[in-house]
């Protein structure tokens, strides 16, 4: 771990301004950042501790939605009665991730911004375009069982590891951001993340000095919510494929349809074309087959992760059956 300066932020404004300095990095729960610093994957010059900022509230918004403070821990959010009642997909996704100890420390904003588990990213002896732009991608021809099949580029095939963000994506969440200039803006979660292209080190649309202050959820819908995570062991494993679905039915047809995916792409994945295809139609095996085909039409395996195409296809169909009550 490279020696670094440490500053405890006294306000969101001060934190955002301090982050303008080159080599500055926010620290909240530290569950991801400290590991990466020990590995020297990240070598910040300065840490700005935002963990004590007053961003720990989960509040009802004026429109009946929920404002989740950036520093709300994963444990607290999963246990929040309003989340459990109105956004159960989020609670389930949170509890499907990490371990109890990690969830007690990990924060909402930190979870959104956690880095990939790609082993070549995590090992400084390996080339990695995300860690060292231009050095190459060792995962393309390496061990890529856990890697992405959608949204990849020749520069990077790493996945985003979050469960929470997958559920938030299906809930049409947006991210509240405060800039160093003190301005607050809101960005849809889908727009928050960037695909790798030839700049895999750029993972979000955040600017220098931007501070995530909250995640906003729209008012709850009367919809069936499902989170299904497929993994190599029963707990404490990252998703091979996960699916979050928020689906309502109206007079026998699918009405509101929001489906998002983890483990498949460099960001929590959502495909509006798939949702449009499903909406307004009665549930059927053939429809779900078509939806899964559509989702994976552009999917590409890299050898070790080829199986994810079939796995995602099967898992999506099972989740749609579950959410719509279709029996096989």
């Amino acid at each position: 771990m490279k020696p670094f300066d440490y500053e405890r932020a006294v306000s969101s404004n001060a934190a955002a301004r301090a982050a303008l300095a080159s080599g500055a990095h926010f620290i909240a729960g530290g569950t991801n950042l400290l590991d990466l610093m020990k590995l020297e994957v990240l070598r910040p010059d300065k840490l700005i501790d935002i963990s004590r900022l007053p961003l720990r509230q989960v509040e009802r918004t004026g429109d009946g939605g929920l404002r989740i403070g950036a520093m709300v821990t994963n444990s607290d959010l999963a246990a929040d009665p309003r989340v459990r009642r109105h956004y159960p997909v989020l609670s389930r996704a949170l509890l499907a991730g990490a371990s109890g100890q990690l969830r007690n420390k990990a924060t909402t904003a930190g979870n959104l911004l956690q880095r990939t588990r790609c082993p070549y990213f995590q090992d400084t002896a390996m080339p990695c375009n995300k860690r060292e732009p231009g050095s190459g991608c060792h995962a393309l021809d390496g061990f890529n069982r856990n890697h992405a099949i959608l949204g990849t580029s020749e520069s990077c095939i790493a996945t985003h590891p979050s469960d929470m963000a997958v559920a938030m994506m299906a809930l049409d969440a947006s991210v509240e951001i405060q800039s160093a200039a003190g301005k607050t803006r809101t960005v849809a979660l889908d727009e928050f993340y960037a695909l790798p292209g030839d700049t895999p080190h750029v993972e979000t649309t955040l600017d220098s000095g931007d501070l995530v202050t909250a995640v906003l959820l729209p008012p709850p819908l009367a919809a069936r919510q499902v989170y299904r995570k497929v993994r190599d062991r029963a707990s404490y494993a990252f998703a091979l494929v996960s699916v979050a679905a928020v689906i309502s039915m109206n007079e026998g047809v699918l009405d509101h349809v929001a489906v998002s995916f983890g483990g498949l792409a460099p960001k929590p994945w959502r495909d509006r074309k798939v949702e449009a295809l499903l909406s307004g139609k009665p549930p059927s095996g053939a429809l779900f087959q078509e939806a899964a085909d559509r989702l994976l039409a552009e999917a590409r395996g890299y050898g070790g992760n080829d199986f994810k195409i079939a796995l995602a296809h099967r898992t999506l169909r099972a989740v749609l059956r579950q959410a719509t009550g279709l029996t096989q």
């Binding site: 771990m1 490279k2 020696p3 020990k38 020297e40 588990r117 082993p119 090992d123 400084t124 002896a125 060792h138 021809d141 390496g142 061990f143 069982r145 497929v230 993994r231 190599d232 062991r233 029963a234 707990s235 404490y236 494993a237 990252f238 091979l240 494929v241 199986f307 079939a310 796995l311 099967r314 898992t315 169909r317 099972a318």
Partner: protein, 730 residues
């Protein structure tokens, strides 16, 4: 006083005549409260705060030489004391019982991740950061990474055996199986990372380390350093799991000792979790071909078990996959061959149940395949093939409860409810099946000594350099002494893990309890004789219980009888019974699994192991050993896979988030039952090794259950969901 026994003949069951009733009881580990409250001091914690800290630096090539190391940037950092490269450092751990560790020039690199230097600093953080700043240049040579394409593959002397007319038996068989199974590299991944703290006092070295076999480790460390073993003391009072990876002295110990000498200050070296995966030892990946031939009734006429395993160039160890195949089942014709591929991968060594852990996966899968092929119940197939005597050398078995384990287990588990047709039982999305496998693990007695002192207050103290690696050694040695001397568990103090004590057997090969337990037993026999002499009677006329000696109707407190501390050393050695009798512990595993028909995820629902392992010294610690083995089996079957990068062989999944050992949620209710058994040929306390028995066959029971659940036979371990998906219903 000294009592020595060479196991040349069967022994009577002396323990059965004792009165205390301590042996066999279900006692919690005596040191448990210290461990769960953080008061048990492990190697890395044994310093006094004055020590410097060393961090090992890894090679980042697979094969070649270190051409140069520029340590300028590292040495310029505050607190950095020294960057050590020394020809005495070792680049691989010693193999179990090696008893020597010739210097291995660390400038020669033969696998990615091996240590090439040690950075020493005032603090751990300084040393770890400085380690990243070394500029190491290499002369790179071509590496062999893949066993399929290795340039050097050898079949050593003694690794080939043919008996009878094997090919003819295969050709003439009414039913036969010829299948190839593969298992990946695995890591012991003990909870406590490998650690050493070295302190010199003149020419004398004291090393607190995490090791399993101190009497060998002392000689290994002395050999590496080029000093006399009398000048080396190793202390390992508590060891947080070893599973074979701490059998031999490791690079951390040698480097710590060299560094401490060089800077004139104690030095602590603790491996990071990633280093434990790439610098210690691994279980070799295996390729196994199993051939079985049987008559119409399922009686085996031939068994063939060929293997290809791997290790670094120059390593004598090879994973002995056929170890149980030799004696478990009959069949007149037999064929074995092992090839060893020389690879630039982390050193392969003994990991819990070397041989059986992976060999029994293949053998017991093949037996399941044969049973299915014949339409015969898998339990029945095994019962029909238990041989009279060792099928290759004709030795009688010292004791063997295999048939009882199979039939008792089948009853307890409800085996008769198994659907004989695979894929026939469905519960919602889940396909449910049952599977079973035999278990066998050779029993070994290893030379051991222990000293027992009867104190004037009527308590006793046991001393040996034996280690407790989490298995319950502290407890069971106290129980043996307590039984023999008539003392409650709390009146016996057990001191372990210090080469200042008499040399025990070390923990490994499942021989610790039987070997050191026997040494304690012998010492106590000597003390009993001395007590009897004081009472003027034969030892057989004296009853010792609760601190009181009773002879006919006369009672004397031990504290009154012992006016000056009495001491005796017991010494056990293997003898003729080792050559004359085939000794092994046996068992049977039963598993119920559910496989998700959508995703291919497998969940073990329940598991039962029934074991016959001679006398059980402590029901609780023995059961826990079996639980641990069964959990290892679940990991081997479903998740564990130490992945080597295809280009440079480096261990890709170097942490516990990505190297998937089972977590609590992967482990269902486990049941263990022990059959009543004594083995008079094994040792005087009539036990057999149990530490590795639980893993033998356990994974095969799980994968056989997967076949029963789905009709899919995966022969490439671990059985992850991607291998099941293609065969599952759409």
């Amino acid at each position: 006083m000294n009592k020595h026994l060479k196991m040349d003949e069967r022994q009577s069951d002396v323990l059965a005549d004792m009165a205390q009733g301590t042996v066999g009881r279900e006692l919690a580990r005596s040191e448990g409260p210290l461990k769960v409250s953080g008061r048990a001091v492990y190697a890395a914690e044994s310093g006094d705060g004055t020590e410097a800290v060393g961090v090992l630096v890894r090679a980042t090539i697979a094969n070649g030489r270190v051409a140069s190391i520029d340590a300028g940037d590292a040495l310029a950092l505050e607190g950095v004391l020294r960057v050590i490269t020394d020809s005495r450092m070792v680049r691989r751990p010693a193999q179990g019982t090696a008893n020597g560790a010739p210097a291995q020039d660390t400038s020669q690199v033969d696998h990615f991740g091996q240590p090439v230097a040690l950075v020493v600093a005032d603090t751990f953080e300084q040393a770890r950061h400085a380690a990243h700043l070394l500029d190491i240049r290499y002369g790179v040579e071509t590496a062999d990474i893949d066993p399929e394409t290795a340039r050097e593959v050898e079949t050593p002397e003694g690794k080939r055996l043919e008996q009878g007319a094997f090919d003819t038996a295969m050709d003439d068989a009414a039913a036969s199986i010829d299948a190839i199974y593969t298992t990946p590299s695995q890591s012991a991944a003990p909870m406590e990372p490998h650690a050493a703290l070295a302190r010199w006092d003149g020419d004398r070295l004291t090393l607190h380390g995490a090791y399993q076999m101190l009497k060998y480790n002392r000689n290994e460390l002395a050999d590496a350093l080029g000093i006399h073993p009398d000048n080396v003391r190793i202390v390992s009072r508590y060891v947080g799991g070893g599973f074979g990876s701490k059998l031999g002295i490791g690079p951390e110990a040698v480097a710590a000792a060299i560094a401490a000498r060089a800077i004139g200050r104690p030095v602590r070296v603790v491996m990071s979790r990633a280093q434990v995966f790439e610098m210690t030892s691994r279980r070799s990946e295996t390729w196994q071909r199993v051939r079985l031939a049987a008559d119409r009734d399922g009686r085996l006429t031939a068994i063939g078990h060929d293997a290809r395993v791997s290790n670094l160039p120059g390593e004598a160890f090879s994973e002995p996959v056929q170890i149980a195949t030799h004696f478990l089942y009959g069949g007149a014709s037999r064929h074995y061959e092992t090839r060893i591929a020389r690879l630039n991968r982390t050193c392969a060594g003994s990991m819990r149940a070397p041989g059986e852990a992976v060999g029994m996966l293949a053998l017991e899968n093949a037996m399941d395949e044969l049973a299915h092929h014949l339409g015969l119940d898998p339990v029945e197939l095994r019962l029909r093939n238990i041989p009279e005597r060792h099928p290759e050398n004709g030795k009688p078995f010292s004791s063997r409860g295999l048939a009882d384990c199979l039939t008792t287990g089948a009853d307890l588990f409800g085996w008769n409810r198994r659907n004989t047709r695979p894929g026939a039982k469905r519960e919602g999305e889940w396909l449910v099946g049952l599977g079973m496998a035999s278990a066998a693990r050779s029993n070994i007695l290893s030379e051991a000594q222990a000293r027992v002192r009867l104190n004037t207050d009527g308590t006793a103290t046991v001393e040996t350099d034996m280690t407790d690696i989490g298995t319950g050694t502290y407890s069971i040695l106290g129980q043996v002494a307590g039984e023999m001397l008539g003392l409650a568990p709390e009146d016996v103090t057990v001191e372990l893990g210090d080469t200042a004590f008499p040399p025990g057997s070390g923990s490994g090969g499942s021989w610790g309890a039987g070997s050191v337990g026997s040494a304690v037993f012998l010492a106590c026999q000597d003390l009993r004789a001395a007590l009897a002499a004081r009472l003027g009677c034969d030892p057989g006329e004296m009853t010792l219980k609760d601190g009181v000696a009773t002879v006919s109707n006369r009672q004397t407190r031990l504290s009154d009888l012992v006016d000056e501390a009495m001491e005796a050393t017991g010494h056990i050695e293997p003898g003729d019974t080792k050559q004359e009798m085939q000794q092994a512990a046996f068992g049977a595993h039963f598993a119920e699994v559910a496989v998700n028909s959508v995703t291919g995820e497998t969940r073990v629902r329940r598991m039962l192991g029934v074991f016959a392992a001679g006398r059980i010294l402590n029901l609780k610690t023995a059961r826990s050993q079996c639980f641990g083995g069964m959990i290892f089996g679940i990991g081997a079957a479903l998740t564990e896979n130490l992945v080597h990068d295809p280009r440079d062989g480096h261990v890709v999944n170097r942490d516990l988030a990505e190297y998937h050992i089972p977590v609590n949620l992967d482990v269902p209710r486990l049941d263990v039952a022990f059959l009543e058994e004594r083995d008079p040929w094994a040792n005087p306390i009539q036990t057999k090794g149990i530490g590795e028995l639980g893993i033998s066959g356990a994974g095969a029971a799980v994968t056989n259950a997967i076949f029963n659940a789905t009709g899919i036979r995966v022969r490439d371990y671990p059985v992850t969901l991607d291998k099941l998906l293609p065969g599952l219903p759409g």
